[in-house]
Symmetry: C2
Subunit: 582 residues, 2 copies
């Protein structure tokens, strides 16, 4: 079958089961080839081939509306809805994003990249349909670890009150990114073991009707069940059991490392761009594993992304009870570390910068109002981390630096990261967050302190005059290079490592006024609500000019990091240019 003959779901509806089976097989092959050359979410999509075809056979998209959770398992949906060429033609691989996107297709209703949102988003589509007298089916597709997030439970709870059509397809592959964690997974297992017949049923307990499909990779069972629930007049869960990674043996054998893949060699399954170079994740993991042996109350908490923070299966086994994965449930992670800290433990919560947003209230209320001395380490921060609009690391300073009571530290280099982490774990006064720079740790020839208890104390790295550059975290390296460029032009700027992004050093900033006319701040995040804005505010009624280098507040999608940095002067040359302008 020629995959490119599938231009829309209508083209599926004439096919026999045999032809559909061949289509599934061909799509799987195309998917494996694309991911091997381009990278992307792998195992989740391989498991959903048949289910996605069955959904498009039975329902009438886009009149009937699908909402894919996280939408990292929407690749087959994209193939079937006019975007096949982006999967079979390597020149067009980048025509599509890794997530659903209304700008790409009328079959996509939301740009989604965070977990656990599909039921809630779809509940809104259903509510609007009912008010407007519509009759279409609304289908949320959730699973692959997404069920453990609070928003998903809230969505189930609301869906349980509905009196009209609402279909939730639960893709149960018995996995999250890594293995599942949570009491509900025992119930899913019970349901699998009883062919869906167990009386104790999580979904029924939420007020929902329920169907079970034992083989969620079998087209005919799926089609039959979806036909049964199509146009149903009440909310229902269709629980399908699928195999993550199906069709690519190494992805079935090692599901965690094939959840998302960079380009790899199909013959050996080896990642092409794998690196053994230390990352902040590996540095932190080594430090903590060592420290755990001496301090049994040290515990690392993570919400379903252990690989992001360097806790792969080997490290998790070594940490034992001193590592907790709560599943994709950041609110739980935040509150839990507060509780650990309040009962004599030393918790470290490692979290991706984009996901920390999911626990704003818990950081503010559960941790900071209680001044619980928990340590939070943020990963994938800054411009050079992830670049899909749903996964950006450029909003963390605006969020965390304005929550009272939270100390937010930005290490400039490896040694400073280690010092800050050691200090934070040992202290018992305040919640501390530490911003790891992306992508790779650098070594800098600067003095690193071991004690950060004097809050908001900046450090002068190099004394100069006229202009001072205050560079946050990873930007210090660029500021030092900018200083070299400027010295060649006869300008000798003072270089400052603020270390803290959650406040300013009033004493040092005041002292600068003696022999400086201007200050340039640099951060790799948005300006609004950020660090430079605090410096600008400090000097606002004083005789010193401030130029804040950073990103304008907006959403950026699939950008080229170097281009973005150059556009906004977030480079050594850019910093030097802005200094000269002043």
């Amino acid at each position: 079958m020629n995959l490119e003959s599938i231009k829309s779901p209508a083209d599926l509806k004439q096919l026999s089961v045999g032809e559909l089976t061949e289509l599934c097989s061909n799509m799987r092959t195309a998917l494996i080839e694309k991911i091997s050359r381009h990278g992307g979410h792998f195992g989740p999509n391989l498991g959903m081939v048949e289910a996605t075809v069955a959904l498009h056979i039975v329902f009438n998209s886009p009149v009937d509306k699908f909402v894919f959770d996280v939408s990292h398992q929407s690749y087959i949906h994209k193939m079937l809805t006019g975007r096949m060429s982006a999967f079979v033609n390597s020149d067009r691989y980048d025509d599509v994003s890794g997530y659903t996107n209304p700008h790409e297709s009328e079959h996509d209703f939301f740009n989604i990249g965070h977990t656990s949102t599909s039921i809630s988003l779809a509940s809104g589509l259903a509510k609007a349909r009912d008010l407007n007298g519509g009759k279409e089916n609304i289908i949320a597709v959730i699973g692959d670890g997404s069920l453990s997030g609070g928003e998903a439970f809230e969505g189930l709870d609301t869906a349980g009150t509905f009196k009209s059509n609402f279909i939730i397809v639960v893709n149960d592959n018995d996995m999250s990114i890594a293995e599942n964690h949570g009491g509900i997974y025992d119930n899913l297992r019970l349901l699998r073991e009883t062919n869906g017949k167990a009386e104790c049923n999580l979904f029924r307990a939420f007020g929902l009707d329920y169907r079970f499909v034992n083989n969620g990779n079998d087209l005919e069972s799926l089609i039959a069940t979806f036909q049964e629930v199509k146009d149903i007049d009440h909310p229902i869960v269709v629980h399908i059991v699928t195999e993550k990674g199906r069709g690519y043996a190494p992805a079935v054998a090692d599901k965690e490392s094939h959840h998302w893949c960079g380009p790899f060699d199909m013959a050996t399954d080896r990642q092409l761009y794998d690196s053994d170079a230390p990352s902040y994740a590996s540095i932190m993991t080594s430090m903590l594993l060592k420290r755990m042996k001496e301090d049994k109350s040290l515990v690392v908490v993570n919400a379903g992304t252990p690989g992001v923070i360097g806790f792969n299966p080997k490290e998790r086994a070594e940490a034992g009870d001193q590592f907790v994965d709560v599943g994709i449930a950041e609110e739980q992670a935040a509150a839990m570390v507060s509780g650990i800290a309040r009962n004599g433990g030393h918790p470290v919560w490692g979290v991706g910068a984009s996901f920390i947003q999911r626990a704003y209230d818990q950081i503010s209320q559960d941790i900071c109002i209680n001044a619980s001395p928990a340590t939070i380490v943020t990963f994938y921060t800054g411009i050079r981390a992830l670049n899909d609009v749903t996964h950006l690391g450029i909003y963390d300073i605006a969020m965390l630096s304005n929550i009272p009571g939270l100390v937010y530290l930005a290490p400039t280099c490896r040694a400073e990261f280690e010092a800050m982490l050691n200090w934070s774990i040992a202290q018992d006064k305040a919640p501390v967050a530490i911003r790891t720079a992306s992508p790779a740790p650098v070594d800098l020839d600067i003095t690193v302190d071991s004690d950060y208890s004097e809050l908001n104390k900046f450090r002068v790295v190099s004394e100069g005059s006229d202009v001072a550059i205050i560079a946050v975290g990873t930007m210090l390296a660029d500021a030092l290079k900018a200083a070299e460029l400027l010295k060649a032009k006869g300008i000798n700027p003072t270089i400052i490592n603020p270390r803290f992004v959650s406040g300013v050093d009033a004493e040092l900033l005041t002292s600068l006024m003696a022999n400086h006319r201007a200050v340039v701040t640099v951060e790799d995040g948005i300006i609004d609500g950020g660090f430079g804005a605090k410096v600008a505010h400090f000097y606002a009624d004083k005789d010193i000019k401030v130029d804040v280098i950073g990103l304008p507040k907006q959403f950026y999608d699939r950008y080229n990091p170097q281009e973005l940095c150059e556009r906004y002067d977030i480079t050594a040359e850019g910093i030097a240019r802005r200094v000269q302008r002043l």
Copy 2:
């Protein structure tokens, strides 16, 4: 029984059941009298008298540790743990806060005021206990609507994986603040109707063991059940059925209006300081109910606090299907309004400013990345709203104004609020939040526009020279008074209503430079991440001085609003003083 003889839980342990029953009765009487004179959470505490006594009889606080959800039902716990005088001696009523507070007592482990956090916080206490080899009981007490929040479900899910002591007392009074909403409440009803015997059991589906107490206001059953689960070696839910408002007939008859009460007359049950004066909630409700009749796709969404936004039982009945209460579940509310907006509906989400924090990620990802034209109306904003540290309305600008794509409007008066709300509902371009001022709407003699589609366009209210005052929302009235004070001293400031707090009007700010030397901004929120900081940043490299009036970033607890405003010049006199200083 002399209540003041109870100095600590140890004093309970010698008492007979008869004496304990008398104690309960006396505490209830004291509680009713205190609330009638002082105000506070009423129905929730009246229902929990026996359960709290039984907990303290069976467990050994503070070695065994209780975490009360929201902690609005912890008054009896306070009475029993050394704080009785704050409930029986009217001179000492204010010795205690309305929530648990570690500064008050070693029996309190967290300062809590938001919903659904107890299980997660307690899970951390339990984890630290296990790592440190402790043996104490950890008990989370949750209910009264708190179960519907995502954090509570995440907590149940994590608790379901525990292999050691963990006790969750679910106080099922069949109510939230108003009536319950959510599919789980059908399951709780089934459990009540089957005396806890139904096979389909929400808590067991989360992997938890389970006990049921049919009469949760019966001391002896409670004591017997708590004895049974004391020192248990695995996680368990004790589901107790209590009567909200028990012991005060009007609070039983009308549970919603007695959830929290201001001072009232015990003879008539009439609130002493009730007012029929319009509030922003009542203004919004009237407008929307009228508009709903013409626009069937207009729908108001709220997360468990309908009274806060003016939708009391009468208004809810009138709105019918066009009002949705999702239970206390702000993430669901945020995503749902996005879904409604994406399917042709016109959603308005009314939410308390302190609770909007619970949906930061959903506002950013589910609403703003998708540019869903939903309307959010924030209540209880500013300094003069709620003053417990857990319920402050001073962080909303720092949060909302730095999320890309969100338009945050601050109306200065009633007419402007109405105009902004009408515009927001009608437009289909962007998510819009509107900040209602606290406490009461004012009328101002200013020109009000009907169209706000030209984003970040400020309005000059009164032309002057030398100094401009940019006053956010409710502060405009104070700025106008300040202008009068200044005119008497020969200063004629320009007065500006920014209308937008999520961005600045570069054109207008630039034009001010022609004949102004300084700008003063005023907002009733924290400075860090706020509106004035954006203005300070705009002028940072220009020849104009900026003075930002607002609150330093910190937590404020049970402050006197007038004192706080005076301390930080957030008054007409303060503004005038700051202008003169420049």
